[in-house]
Subunit: 223 residues, 2 copies
DNA sequence: AGCATCGCTGATGTATACATCAATAGACCC
DNA sequence: GGGTCTATTGATGTATACATCAGCGATGCT
């Protein structure tokens, strides 16, 4: 399928932002984008509007457009909602998952284990995503899955901090095993609770996370 | 503040769709909009793109643009998520609400009671919304409140069916009273449960709702 | 020197012309 | 007669020119 320039531009920018190649707070210059992508202002404008709609970019009228920089308070709010959505996916998945989906989930977990054993953080990060997406799909609620996916995208620039917390990878893997077990047993309540807790924003991890973000934020302010 | 033509057009269309003046499935003709609003295709295009992003409108390439018509299955999915968000708002509100917010919530309930006593369905619908928004605000999670508000908007074309179910208004009011009581007592779990159930998609009401939608859908197919 | 006003400049919004693509229908070939 | 190829057409995407507006700085007045 042939994608429009606006779409390609949108995807490229989104990817840049999500993967940290453009940091929160960074200025986006429409003219530079016009040159780099060899298109006129129209598709650039369109792409930026879409990014604004999805919350990844903000525009200050007559000031410029910037990669969205969410305050710590809003970040906490977003993680709070993310935890709820994850929990809901888990609850529904525990009730509704099919055998095929269960197999897929087990495989996703195995890939996580392989990445963890290899000590490959980036790979683990990627496979971790696969595991969660498998749960989203198993919720048999496409709308929920899409909402969860979108919010996760939006949090991605900050989530990569999570796994850098020491020993996070090993703990995450243990939690994955527990989550899988709960879903296998059809224990909806337990799956929900585990997945909620799995989002690193609760309990004693919270302060670790906040300090991570604070450091990250400080670095960004210097940009 | 001076709003752009695209924004005004977007708001006008959104309002039309949400309030049923443009029914799901109806065709939106860009040229007609250009004439009616006396603008060129650019702002019309922009407005439509925004509506697509918010899910109220869909475009079939080379076929035309239409008011989004969500299938029954997707509608159920969306209500399932709505129930979760409402419940979450209630849970957080029960824990975090301030005295001022509690007063506002009590007043919102009183306005609902007044509208119900007057038998004014439209007014009740409006005040009902006020009650729920008061709970959103009391959750002290602005992001959650905004997500809930948006999803509610998106469901509005279908939600107006709910209250038309016989006796729904009286039951809704009773539930509001219970919800308020739970929040007043800081009973988070109960507030969550009540608000979840309050969204008409569960239990025995579900089939009533489905048949409402089916009738509505049938009428739409005839358009 | 401080303040206000004027005008410049760059950002934003809009109109319009143009390019491109896909669906449809018609004609031509088999 | 049917299928396929193609030409037309309308919808969509893009470029560019133009209009408008707010911010900001310079200049002049008090």
């Amino acid at each position: 399928m042939k994608r429009s320039n606006a779409q390609r531009l949108r995807d490229a920018l989104e990817d840049d932002i999500i993967n940290g190649r453009r940091a929160p707070g960074e200025r986006l210059e429409p003219e530079a984008l016009c040159r780099d992508f060899e298109v006129s202002r129209t598709p650039v404008r369109e792409a930026i509007q879409q990014l604004v709609a999805s919350g990844l970019v903000t525009v200050s009228p007559k000031k410029g457009t910037f990669v969205a920089r969410v305050g710590l308070d809003q970040l906490v709010e977003m993680f709070e909602v993310m935890a709820e959505l994850e929990g809901m996916c888990g609850r529904l998945a525990a009730r509704r998952i099919t055998e095929e989906e269960l197999d897929a989930l087990r495989e996703a977990l195995m890939r996580c284990e392989a990445a963890a054993k290899a000590g490959d953080t980036d790979e683990y990060y990627y496979e971790n995503e696969g595991f969660h997406h498998a749960i989203y799909a198993a919720s048999h609620n496409g709308f929920l899955a899409e909402e969860a996916r979108q919010l996760k995208q939006r949090l991605k620039p900050y989530r990569r901090l999570q796994l850098q917390v020491r020993k996070r990878m090993g703990r995450s893997l243990d939690e994955h095993r527990e989550i899988l077990a709960a879903i296998e047993h059809g224990d909806a309540e337990r799956a929900e609770r585990l997945l909620r807790a799995h989002v690193v924003i609760q309990g004693e991890r919270f302060s670790d996370f906040v300090s991570s973000v604070r450091r990250f934020g400080a670095r960004l302010d210097a940009v």
